[in-house]
Amino acid sequence: PLAERRLRDVRLGELPTWLATRDFSPQGLLGGVQKAWNGYCNKYINVRKGGAAGVSMLLAGYCILSYGWSYQHISKISFLMSY
């Protein structure tokens, strides 16, 4: 059953059909985001002996995301030259 397999079990040729079966409505997307967040929490945060890894991955992701958002501003030569 193609629709119930996860992304990592889907072959490359079946990708378009698999994408077609996914639910892209707002509720579907929100549900997907919620499931992903819950999975992440249960794996790295809601454990007996958590470590620095759980929150550091979130911070690293935030760093990379904010770098991506401000790349246009950082790469301008005027910004580079003013420091």
Binding site: K43, G51, A53
Partner: protein
Amino acid sequence: VLHVVRPIHTSQQRSAPVPPLPEKGGEVRHGLIPEEFFQFLYPKTGVTGPYMLGTGLLLYFLSKEIYVVNHETVAAACILSVIIYGIKKYGADVAAFADKLNEEKIAKVTDIKNNAIKDLEAAIEQEKKEQWRAEGRSYLFDAKRNNIAMLLEANYRERLLTVYNEVKKRLDYQVAMQNLKHQKEQDHMIQWVEKNVVQSITPQQQKESIAKCISDLKALSKSAQVAV
């Protein structure tokens, strides 16, 4: 009110008792990259695959200026080094402290749970004892019945005695009355007879009897003198 017929409690998972938390989180290498990534690349590239990939990507970003080196890079390097130094030095202590806090919380709650269990078990013991006691209620009722019977018997006998005494008193009274009457009649008759007898003794008879007595006494005295 639930009118719709809907199957409930059909999933195998149960919420209570809550399954315990896993001991350790997912493995993460260098604090940033989950172990699954390394396992994903292992069959194709062996152990050094991800590191090669990381080095290649880093050089590519640097050379193509996708990652720009400016003052922020220096600042980030300083901050990261301080953070990593802090974690490496004090990580174990902080972890032990947090574990201690957790342990205290869990100990308090398990104490409450154990106390509750003990109280409930004691209550169960008490209940069983009460049930055992309740079984002996037949003996209790027998004893009570005996008590009541004895009280009734004692009362009955008391009243019987009272009745007997009362009846005896009345009969004694009647007997005493009869005796008294008899005695009074006797006394009266004796008195009347004496009175009549005394009245009937005329003076003349009195003189004759006195003279006879004197002569008798003289004869007696003579016989007594002779005897001596």
